[in-house]
Every structure is written in structure tokens, then in C-alpha cells.
Amino acid sequence: MNRLFQASVINNEKLVKDHYLLTLHPLEKIKKPKPGNFFMVAVNKGLDPLLRRPISIHRWLDGDFQLLYRVAGKGTSILSRNKPGDILEILGPLGRGFPLNIKSENIILVAGGLGIAPIFALAESLAGKNLSLFYGARTKTEVLCTRELNTIGVDPVISTDDGSLGGKDNIVNVLKRHVTRNPSLVTDHVLYACGPGPMLKALSMFAIKYKLKGHIALEQNMACGLGTCLGCVVKTSKGYKRVCKEGPVFSIEEIVW
């Protein structure tokens, strides 16, 4: 099972402006990714852009798999032009995923924007446990996967920056308010989150205050994805660690913000 493989595009569906769901069929058997793992996708064969783009596993479909991505710049824009039948060269699965083997039955999931991509994978893996999902997005249309979430029995608390769906607030504040009202919400709970840096920072401060254990998935500019370039580090209580290798999932308390 090679971690450098080719995959053919089954579908590259535009969900809403700038948001795409890419369904891929690996042309050889690959290792099954864990939620939180990611792939380094070569968006083209040329030298511009030069480097692969990291994208999280969103959904595993029995050998095929899905990536959920937002057009952020040049690389993802090229990716969005792929059509069924096109072939992509992919490296992965990479990194350390979310720990799944946990005792607690009560899980709080927090997703900010595209953070829903890996959080959905995680929710699917943890289905059966008591999952509370807090999901923030910029606007109503960018709230994705709600149908799929319902299918696996998750009914998210939603907030949007513009108030077009759910409360008009950032999702960390929403979570805080829930917990202030009902502190038992967090006892014996485990927290998992993915989203923009500032959201994860605020969430971490909150979690530490409430002694809530948990894990967050971080992002960083990457070159190799394999742990060799040392380009993707974040500061932890034990020195710099590589997001691509020791991460992208870290325990909340080890990150130094």
C-alpha cells in the first residue's frame, strides 16, 4: 500500500460559491485514513504552484474518498477545475489523526468554517456516542453537510458571522454561553475542534479554564507533509512540533499560543 498514489476524479461538485466536494477513486489500494489525517494533493504538473496542497480527509467511502475544500488561492482554484476522469497524484494519508479510542461517551465537536471537513469525518467515526456539534460559518450558504450530519444523527448548534442562520455570533461564544448556563455540559466531556487559528485559540483558553480535555487540528504552511522539511512547526510546551507529523491533531494543553 503506497502512500504516493494516483486517483481518478469521480466528481468535483461545486456545493456553493468557492466550496467543492471532490470524490476520488484511488487507482491502487491505499491505507484507510483516520479522521484528522490529510493528503498532499498535487494540483498540476507544472511549477506554478510548486508545492502540493494539504487537504483533510472528509469522508471515506469504502476505498473511494472525499475531500471538502474551499478555493483560497491559486492551488485550490486549479483543483476546482478538475473534471470527472481527470487523474490527480496524491500523497497520504499523512499525520496523526484524532484519538478515537477514548473512554468518554460525551463528545463536544467544534467546527469553524472548513473545519467541518475533518470534523465530519470524526463525527462519522464516533457515531453512537453522545455528540454535540457546535458549528460556526461566515454565512448561511457556507453551512455545509447538514443533511449528512442528520443522517448520522448529529443535530448541530449553528451560528453565522452575519446571523443568516443560527445566532449571529462566533461559535466559541455560543459554546461558552451553553456551558455557563449548564456547567454539567462539560463534565466528563471530551472536546474536538478544527477551524481558523483565532477560533482555536479562544476555544483553547476556554477549555483550559473549564478543565475540559480535548484535541484540536491545526494548519500551517507545508512543503513536504512527511516531517522532513521542518517547515510546518507550531510551538508546544515541549518545543516546536511538526503539524504534518506530530500533528495536525494536538492535545489542547500542549499548544503554546
Binding site: 512543503a223 522532513t228 522539511c229 512547526v233
Partner: protein
């Protein structure tokens, strides 16, 4: 068309005989272990490991890398596990392969360079030393070991005395006269020079008006720098008698051959490992095919064979 079996890919660098001219560039192949999954390490000409210092180094704060047109800037800040840890934890793995291990190293002072060279000289399984002189010289008020010919001569000759293994000096391209720097390294006793290290560059995020790298400046590598690297290898080939190891933006066998024609006895693959983790093997195979097609018996015949 030559029979592939009869093609001689071996090259000599100092006391080393490499089975082919393709090495890895320091800092882009870790300590070799992560790539074993993608490349048969026994196939490589040599493995050059991430730059090491006497003590472990933390490196720079992130962000450490940023992509640029056909290139990338890095400011890793020479993060490494230190020579002792390398010898204890990484060398045993590398000793399993019959591929020479070249250790890239650096210091903050001449004394540190010398001590590092001594340690590495004594380490079983280290086949050659590559000294990275693109570091600031704290003693001489932050001049750079690799840009002031007098300082370069001094540090290389001191290391030469301390190291009996093959000694490669890795040159900085951020100089007016690269041929002169190569000559200085040769005069000071180097067995080979390698180049180019990264060109110093910078990128600014116009949204927050800050440098894109926490370290402000970083080193430019990748295909963007290749024309500069080829020119410098050609200049060094003309300036010295010792072998030149060429690198800078190689992403294909064709690029590697371009360096060899310009004067390189061997080449190193850097940033391209990030584009494809199995590229070193692809390049070795590609060089072999080129030689078969062009009916070249020995790769040594190609070194410096550009007709000007």
C-alpha cells in the same frame, strides 16, 4: 544505443566513490528515514542529512516557509537534533544501507566547526562531511563564514586539519565572485565544493504588512534559482580542480544533466523531494536512459562537457 548494463554511473568525490551522481540536498531529506518508504535508499549516490550542530537547535518560530513563483523561501533556522543524538538515534538506521552518508554541519564559531568535524570524523558510518558556511560568524561580528574569503579560508583550513574524511564545502551563492570562494575552499584543503545553497530572499504579506516569514528573510530554493545555480557551477568548474557538486532547482533528469554539463561531478536534489518523495530515484533512472540514448558510456565524460 548503449546497453544500460554497460553504463558507468560512478563518480568520485574525494575518497568517496558514489554508485551514481545523485545525492539528496541537506535539509530536504531529513535523516533519510522518512523517505525509505518511497525510495530505495540503496539506489542513491549518497544521502546528505539535515545540517547538524554540536548542540540541538530549536530553530526559528513559524511561519518558516512560504511558496514563491517556481520556488520557496525557508527560514527553518537550522533546527536539528544535535550531533550526539544523530549518532545515537539516526546513524544506526542509515548504516543498514550501502549508500554513503554525508553529514552536513555548521557552527557558530571556528571552534564549534572544528569540534563538530572531530566528532563526525570519529563516527562510524559517516562517510564524508559537508560544511555549511552560510551561517553568521558570531565572533567576527556577524560577518558570514561563506562571504568573506579570509574568514572562509580560516574556517575551512581549521576544519581540514580536524577531519580526515572527505570534506565538502558548501558555498553560499550570495556573493559577488563565486569562483573566488570555490578557489579559497580548494586552497584551504576542501576535497570538493557543493553549491548552491539558498539565495537570500524575502516576501511580504500585503494584507497585514508583515514579512511572510517570522524570521523576515529566508532562503530561496527550487526551479526559480536554477539558472543562477547553473551559472555558478560553471564558474566554479572553471575556477577549481576539485569536484563540484551542483544543486539548485533540479526537478528532472534533464535538469541534473544540465548541471553535469555545466561542470558538476555529482548533483543534489533538494526542494524537488517535496514535490515528489520518489523523485531522486526517478532522476537516477532518467540519467541512465539519457546516457543509453546518447550512447555515453561513463557519466564522468559529461562533467563540464558543455561546448561554449
Amino acid at each position: 544505443m548503449a546497453n544500460k548494463k554497460s553504463i558507468d554511473l560512478t563518480v568520485n568525490i574525494g575518497k568517496l566513490k558514489l554508485k551514481n551522481p545523485v545525492m539528496t540536498a541537506s535539509g530536504t531529506f531529513g535523516y533519510g528515514d522518512e523517505y525509505a518508504e518511497f525510495v530505495d535508499l540503496n539506489k542513491l549516490g549518497a544521502i546528505v542529512v539535515k545540517g547538524l550542530s554540536l548542540k540541538p537547535k530549536e530553530g526559528n518560530p513559524p511561519p518558516r516557509i512560504v511558496e514563491t513563483p517556481a520556488g520557496m523561501l525557508n527560514a527553518i533556522g537550522l533546527q536539528n537534533i544535535g550531533i550526539n543524538n544523530f549518532i545515537k538515534k539516526k546513524l544506526p538506521f542509515l548504516r543498514q544501507f550501502n549508500t554513503p552518508v554525508i553529514v552536513n554541519f555548521f557552527g557558530d564559531s571556528i571552534a564549534e566547526y572544528v569540534r563538530a568535524a572531530e566528532k563526525l570524523s570519529a563516527a562510524d558510518g559517516v562517510h564524508a562531511l559537508e560544511m555549511n558556511i552560510s551561517c553568521p560568524n558570531k565572533q567576527a561580528g556577524w560577518s558570514i563564514f561563506g562571504t568573506d574569503p579570509k574568514v572562509t579560508y580560516k574556517v575551512v583550513s581549521e576544519v581540514r586539519k580536524a577531519a580526515d574524511k572527505t570534506l565538502i564545502v558548501k558555498l553560499s551563492p550570495n556573493v559577488t565572485d563565486i569562483g573566488l570562494m570555490a578557489k579559497v575552499a580548494e586552497d584551504a584543503g576542501a576535497d570538493a565544493v557543493s553549491l548552491i545553497n539558498t539565495l537570500t530572499g524575502m516576501a511580504i504579506d500585503i494584507k497585514n504588512r508583515r514579512p511572510r516569514l517570522a524570521n523576515i528573510i529566508g532562503g530561496l530554493s527550487g526551479p526559480a534559482v536554477r539558472p543562477v545555480a547553473i551559472r555558478m557551477v560553471w564558474q566554479c568548474y572553471k575556477a577549481v580542480q576539485i569536484p563540484v557538486i551542483g544543486m539548485g532547482g533540479i526537478v528532472s533528469a534533464e535538469d541534473a544533466i544540465e548541471f553535469i554539463l555545466a561542470g558538476a561531478s555529482a548533483v543534489a536534489i533538494g526542494t524537488a523531494n517535496f514535490i515528489s518523495p520518489k523523485i531522486t530515484e526517478d532522476i537516477i533512472n532518467g540519467i541512465e536512459s539519457y546516457m543509453a540514448e546518447e550512447d555515453i558510456k561513463s557519466i564522468k565524460a559529461l562533467t563540464g562537457a558543455v561546448q561554449c
